[in-house]
């Protein structure tokens, strides 16, 4: 059971008033088709989020199975309303995403429009598209003098900590081996070591209250 109150409710995706599941699916297919056509869409955030997974899945299956797989072709036929996009999927997008790691699409939140409906808007795009980047290139401050000094200090710190850990580990392992040796030597009556003495002392003190 969850520790906080949470009322689960289905995500609202009203295409128009009184629209049902069929219209909802139709809307998702339109979005996926539009995404494959234009590679970048600006739309309601919830709609974009919902459609994104289907576009991702379609590209993944196309990548895995190729264009000679019946089920994948059927799926592409279902999601892409404009049939020339099936060719684009296999001839353009599959080669493009061949060496991609991670997801094939990006979803960005956009600012609320005012005055407007108040609905959150988002930007859905295929990666590697020809449009200018949504997020401007960030300046890299890695080589600023202070940052170079701090990076070196950080590396130094982690290295010394790693060495400390390995030292304590090796010391612990040494101790355990020494203990094993003392145990074996305590059996030998000729060479009683200090450790075995202390062990015998503790056993005496422990047994004292029983007496």
């Amino acid at each position: 059971m969850l520790r906080f109150r949470y009322q689960p409710h289905p995500r609202k995706m009203a295409v128009y008033p009184n629209a049902g599941q069929g219209e909802r699916l139709q809307r998702l297919r339109e979005i996926v088709t539009g995404l494959f056509r234009y590679e970048r869409l600006e739309l309601n955030y919830n709609h974009a989020d919902e459609a994104r997974q289907y576009a991702e899945r379609l590209i993944l299956l196309a990548l895995r199975n190729g264009d000679k797989h019946k089920e994948t072709m059927e799926l592409a036929d279902y999601w892409l309303l404009e049939k020339d996009l099936v060719h684009k999927l296999f001839k353009v997008l599959v080669p493009r995403f061949q060496k991609f790691k991670g997801c094939f699409t990006d979803l960005h939140k956009l600012a609320l429009e005012y005055p407007g409906t108040g609905a959150p808007t988002g930007l859905l795009e295929l990666r590697g598209n020809p449009w200018p980047p949504v997020i401007p290139r960030q300046r890299d401050f890695k080589y600023t003098l202070s940052n170079m000094l701090l990076a070196a200090a950080r590396q130094d710190f982690y290295q010394s900590r790693q060495e400390k850990i390995s030292q304590t580990k090796s010391a612990a392992s040494l101790k355990s081996t020494q203990e094993d040796e003392t145990k074996s030597s305590s059996v030998d009556p000729v060479l009683p070591s200090s450790k075995s003495d202390s062990v015998s002392q503790t056993s005496q003190t422990e047994s004292a209250p029983n007496r």
Binding site: L145, L150, D156
Partner: protein, 341 residues
């Protein structure tokens, strides 16, 4: 009381007689070398050489300098062998004069106060550039240079400090270095004494001394550094590495002159924080026992919280810098290896 007076008189007489003995023995000046005298001599030689070189430029020729960069590109008509990138900056913006640490002449790093030699493309670089590594190295080198100034001026005249050399700049090591023979025996500086050293470097920020570059012939250089056995030993090797084979590049800031290939930053006003953090004993094969003086500095342009500077960077810079020890034989070996390759 009377006894005391007599004793003191006796002492005076004794000391007088000692002086007399000294004077009688002295054919040439055996007065101990002092850093201030040596520095004065170097500055005189530097100025003479500079005057000689400027006198060589008899006819003023014009060159075209194309500035590329923000806020707008422009072309300046400057004087050949006289105008420096700093003079170009004076025609453009005060910001360029203040913050530019280095100029790029045809893409090559060039000192701000080094005269331009031909038609060229000019850029200015500062410490908050996208990739300021060349500037960082120039800054680190300049800080080592300033550390030499600190060591030569900090102690009283009876201590003759002989500077040896500093290794190539390595910012990631966390400290800049100057190896020198301090001749102070087993002196271990306290934190207060180190702070006093730091303050000498820090004060240069207000003096705004510019780093001047001058290429001098080997003969002048040997004369200039005749009182420093380390520099004197290194000079032939340094000269042989130069293009002409017989010239040495020296820099001057205020009354401090030192050998370095450069480039250095424009002015000491660009050194914001400066601290001498540690002095370690090192043993060089060819130069014997030396002190490795280490420090830490930040440009005026770069802001850093005092906590970060003091607790992280300063404490790290106290560790012995692992840079190469000053050694003549190694340098010569490297030299001999180059033609073999």
């Amino acid at each position: 009381m009377a006894l005391r007076i007599t004793i003191s008189k006796l002492c005076d007489r004794l000391s007088m007689s000692k002086n007399a003995v000294h004077k009688s023995k002295r054919f040439f000046s055996t007065q101990a070398l002092t850093n201030s005298d040596v520095r004065r001599k170097r500055v005189e030689l530097f100025e003479q050489e500079q005057q000689r070189q400027t006198a060589l430029v008899t006819r003023i020729e014009k060159i075209e300098v194309k500035y590329t960069g923000l806020p707008e590109e422009c072309t300046l008509i400057m004087n050949k062998h006289l105008s420096t990138p700093y003079n170009c900056a004076m025609h453009m913006q005060e910001l360029f004069m203040d913050r530019s640490a280095l100029a790029l002449v045809n893409g090559e790093p060039w000192d701000m106060h080094r005269p331009l030699e031909d038609d060229c493309e000019l850029q200015f670089v500062h410490f908050e550039e996208e990739d300021p590594r060349t500037v960082n190295n120039a800054f680190w080198r300049s800080c080592s240079f300033v550390l030499g100034h600190v060591l030569e001026t900090a102690f009283q005249d009876q201590y003759y400090v002989e500077l040896c050399s500093f290794p190539p700049p390595n910012v990631s090591s966390g400290s800049f270095v100057y190896d020198a023979d301090l001749k102070l025996g087993n002196w271990k500086p306290t934190e207060v004494e180190l702070n006093c050293l730091s303050r000498i470097g820090l004060r240069l920020n207000f003096l705004d001394l510019k780093f001047q570059r001058l290429e001098i012939p080997l003969s002048v250089a040997t004369q200039m550094f005749s009182d420093n056995r380390f520099k004197l030993a290194q000079l032939p090797h340094i000269a042989s590495k130069s293009k002409s084979g017989t010239s040495v590049v020296v820099y001057r800031a205020g009354d401090h002159i030192d050998i370095t290939s450069g480039p250095l930053i424009a002015s000491t006003a660009q050194i914001g924080r400066y601290s001498v953090t540690a002095i370690h004993e090192i043993e060089s094969q060819s130069f014997g026992k030396l002190s490795r003086v280490q420090g830490l500095a930040l440009p005026t342009q770069i802001m850093l919280h005092s906590w970060t500077y003091d607790t992280i960077l300063r404490s790290r810079s106290k560790k012995l810098n692992p840079a190469q020890l000053p050694d003549l034989k190694q340098a010569e070996n490297q030299k001999s290896q180059i033609p073999a390759q």
